[in-house]
Symmetry: C2
Subunit: 309 residues, 2 copies
Amino acid sequence: MASTPFAGVLVPVLTPFTPSGEPDAARFIAFCRWLLDEGADGLAIFGTTSEANSMSSGERMELLDRLVASGIPAGKLMPGAGACSMTEAATLIRHAVGHGVGGVLLLPPFYYKGMDDDGLFAFFAGVIDRVGSSALRIFLYHIPPQTVLGLSLDLVGRLIRAYPETVVGLKDSSGDWNNTAALIERFPGFAVFPGSEVFLLDGLRKGGVGCITATGNVNVVGIRKVYQNWRTPQADSLQAEITSLRKTIQAYPMVPALKRIVAHFHHDPDWAAVRPPMTALNEAQSKALIGDLARVGFALGERRREAAE
Amino acid sequence: MASTPFAGVLVPVLTPFTPSGEPDAARFIAFCRWLLDEGADGLAIFGTTSEANSMSSGERMELLDRLVASGIPAGKLMPGAGACSMTEAATLIRHAVGHGVGGVLLLPPFYYKGMDDDGLFAFFAGVIDRVGSSALRIFLYHIPPQTVLGLSLDLVGRLIRAYPETVVGLKDSSGDWNNTAALIERFPGFAVFPGSEVFLLDGLRKGGVGCITATGNVNVVGIRKVYQNWRTPQADSLQAEITSLRKTIQAYPMVPALKRIVAHFHHDPDWAAVRPPMTALNEAQSKALIGDLARVGFALGERRREAAE
């Protein structure tokens, strides 16, 4: 099996939109740079948190072009290449591999439900064969709350056996620790990332390689403290801290809440815009969220300074 | 409210694929022509049965170009323009309207779950406003078994009120007669098509305008008999006949079964191919299906001759 090009804390980067609703490349580039400066180990752009499926393939490819042209190292990028069709997924992947990305995150085809493992295997195999690149590294994306179509352990095993140099990892956003643990146990050397920092310490202790988590958009520093110190006596209390912050945030709809937090702490109100079908937090929700964060002592800058000490 | 450009029996046309897995325009055109010759009142190409979401937008647009160029009347076409992003849906719709199609069938954005009516309204409004064409007629596509995200009666009402000349009908593939009945009752003049011929007669008696049904690919003639004779004493027994045939077919996975039937009765084995994540029926299933059809006396040609008498 090929070794993973990624480990640590990866951020599924929020996508800013202009007041007229178009992807905002300038803000996106600046935010990606800030996340890397904060210490993010990689940027999983175009994921669920990124509202990637609310963008056309053309919009995603153009944003990636702009991001790479801006000087962000392509090797740090793990763009989502999810699409319901093999052909669209292959187009997105070819484009990303052409830029030299570290890997891509690949959803199952999520329109049809109840598809069996043979059909899903044929989909992934069809995509990989169409791309036909030895440079391709795929991270499977298991997120049944959105796809309502999961990747079974058997399917993951078949894909690893068929494409050992290509299928190198998985993001598990099932929210089911037993599934994450089973993946890590069953596939040694396969890079398993829980889709939430809540499982970061448990994952690392079991053999996971980090996490890819939405709240990384606002708390890279805190989450990386767990990653850096997971073998120390402080690990459990550091984990408790990031779990608690996650719970504070996820009392609100996650993507609008994160965008509101970015808007507030980066002093840039336009950042709060989401694309339909999502809706931004209303004023009352926004105030409540910022109040909740103040009560738990959250502040982007302070956390960063603490970490540097 | 604008009157509906469609009524009767519409067929969500199966999409044939070549042995190498590409959309097969020649077979597609021939099949569309055959369906119209059989009496189909319209062709809802690029729907769920068409495996449209297993094709890229580019593939769909090219097939439509080829179909219209072949002389199939665009006014008979109701292409599906479903996509998770407003921008991709708008691109597909602009292209279809440019060809002069009778209308388009539009899914809700089906990646994110649990989106509220405000967000879904903003999505549909965003698409309509981006297209900005007075020629556009939209049929909403309610198919919770695949989207796991429904269109509430309130949302449908809001869209009709906001865009009375544009949002003119709905395909209800919920399989829930109570929902279909409620739509017909609540929105007089709005064209409601059940997504299965099982509800055709009940729908017509209540004020529905026809149906858009997968099995139309193999039984237009039988289903149209109900549509043509729904006020006659024979209506219930004609309905019982098509309901029974539907049940025979849907004992198998629907799309692969329909393609196998087409392959068998059109003497064209390549027609059985599906695109991943779907899988074709295996030999045993195929034999059992054709056997079941023989037992209920199904034959494409005979039905057609009967109807012509």
